[in-house]
Symmetry: C2
Subunit: 335 residues, 2 copies
């Protein structure tokens, strides 16, 4: 290879890898580099991996690439990692714990150096097992109950606080919450924040929390319909995310209720196009790309040997985007 062009066997290796032990004389290094360029030489990453036991890539495990929150995060991750000379092996679990186990196993077998995981559920055994393993892992967006791994996410609690404060400021006293699926940490975080804010503001949400069984419009529609069928009155809904909010909107319309005149509505995530719904959706925006960037950076630091506690948590600021779906309540509760 390049050696033939130069003169030496594996001195070339040292010449091309300045980080390696053993100083190289300037002229030698120049000769090697020239030869390498002339022959279009690229070191074989596979052979290098075999020797160094480092693969040069990390696994990125996502619950569902089709969930609009995920792609910007992956882009953030991917950009940082390529810059660091690391490639991303992508694995989509389809929100299925079994598939998650399978894919993580496969990823580890392929010797990925690290993992960035948005887990399928908050009780994932697969993810918990990672906490004890050798391979550095960072969670994004979705946490596990054990909190046994570092996490980068949006500060959903602050976003929910802002949302409830906004609604309360408009005069709402009876605010309902249609959550996402209970097996996700994001659902729990938002629910706890909702409960906290309600209590802090002296509101009362008894009978006004209902759980959606998925982050979909259909689940939102069903849950909201259930809410509307009860006797409890409310003038606003905090939805677990934007798709659930969309479902709520549909359920309200189906009940002949108008948004925001009869019921105000707040979503979560600021998904594409929610600004173009009728009414435009008030929602909590999370810095998706930055979450990805920070998660990847955190992983890179760990790969570089920086010691950090596994309970490291980075919550990036969220922002309440006020649009047309929230307004003061009418004097008498309508439903």
């Amino acid at each position: 290879m390049a050696r033939r062009a130069g003169v030496n066997p594996a001195t070339a290796s040292r010449a091309l890898n300045p980080a390696l032990p053993g100083r190289i004389s300037a002229p030698t290094e120049r000769r090697v580099r020239e030869a390498a360029r002339a022959l279009g030489y690229r070191p074989d990453p596979v052979a290098r991996s075999l020797r160094t036991r480092r693969s040069g890539f990390v696994g990125v495990v996502v619950p569902d690439l089709t969930n609009p929150v995920i792609p910007p995060i992956v882009r953030g991750i991917e950009g940082v990692l390529w810059t660091a000379g690391i490639a991303c092996l992508l694995a989509d679990t389809d929100n299925d714990p079994e598939r998650e186990a399978l894919l993580v196993d496969e990823l580890l077998a392929r010797r990925c150096e690290g993992l960035i995981v948005s887990t399928a559920t908050r009780t994932s055994e697969t993810v918990n097992a990672l906490a004890g393993s050798e391979v550095p892992t960072v969670l994004v967006t979705r946490d596990v109950d054990t909190r046994s791994l570092p996490l980068v996410a949006g500060d959903d609690a602050a976003g929910v606080d802002a949302a409830i404060a906004h609604l309360a400021g408009l005069g709402h006293r009876r605010i309902a919450h249609v959550t996402g699926p209970r097996n996700l940490s994001t659902t729990i975080t938002r629910l706890r924040a909702f409960e906290g804010a309600v209590q802090r503001l002296g509101l009362n949400a008894f009978g006004l929390v209902v759980h959606g069984d998925a982050f979909t419009a259909g689940a939102g529609r069903r849950a909201a319909a259930q809410l509307l069928s009860r006797d409890d009155r409310f003038t606003a809904i905090l939805a677990g995310n934007d798709l659930i909010a969309l479902g709520c909107l549909e359920a309200l319309a189906a009940s002949g209720l108008r948004c925001p005149e009869d019921v105000s509505l707040v979503g979560h995530n600021d998904t594409p196009m929610v600004a173009s719904l009728r009414p435009p959706l008030t929602t909590v925006a999370i810095p998706q790309r930055r979450i990805g960037v920070q998660a990847a950076s955190m992983l890179v630091r760990r790969l570089d040997g920086e010691e950090s506690p596994n309970n490291e948590r980075l919550l990036l600021p969220t922002e309440l985007i006020v649009r047309g779906s929230t307004a003061p309540p009418r004097v008498t509760a309508p439903n």
Copy 2:
């Protein structure tokens, strides 16, 4: 390793790889497999790669994961490939030809066995170069002008045909087309189909084609505004994609025109949430996931050595989804 547990050195390899030459006796195979299981043995993929010159992964190059057409395609790809024991290295070019060149180079250096590419532009030199390379490549959704590589995509032309036929059937005679960026094959395919359909139906679209400079709502808004500022009258718009359609909707509203009463509107792709716009958008749905599945399957066949011409093209059926944004024109053109 497993050898110590069994008895033999590399017979184990044959035992675990039924495809390899050299028959193995049933008892031996059983012994080996038991030992492997007992010791939790997993063959090292890196060492195997070094020996076999196969890396076990392919590169997936996408223009922008944030473009809602892409994720379902990637999911389709990813599912098929994992099933085939192949991992996906993800690379997002951000629609930038330079970055595309960089990433493909990096991917090739890492010895991926094949590539699935949705290119940044229809004139991509990077992609054209792939046509002459050793590594099997399949294009998805976006073609290059040279047509030098196999392609799997939706049958956009048929979708556009159906859309124009639908509009003409409603009575529209003057139909405008707000295209996407001209450096994408999808734009050209849809434009050609538009022109063909217009001509075939004896319509006239002189002065009614305007180019958006990106697949964004902003580009659609600007292009539609430009269209509206002209003297040419029209009663319907075919948009290059749904985001452009959204921009058109905004431009119409800004001009005091109603959709569909004053101007009908058709999008492309059936992006999430367009059914919830006001009015719900009539659009051409493309089988995104199936496109991914078929592209991956095609690549796997090629990796397995099946010889196929590089001009293989698989166009999967599209479907016009009629919603509320299209209606018969009023008797007199309004704008």
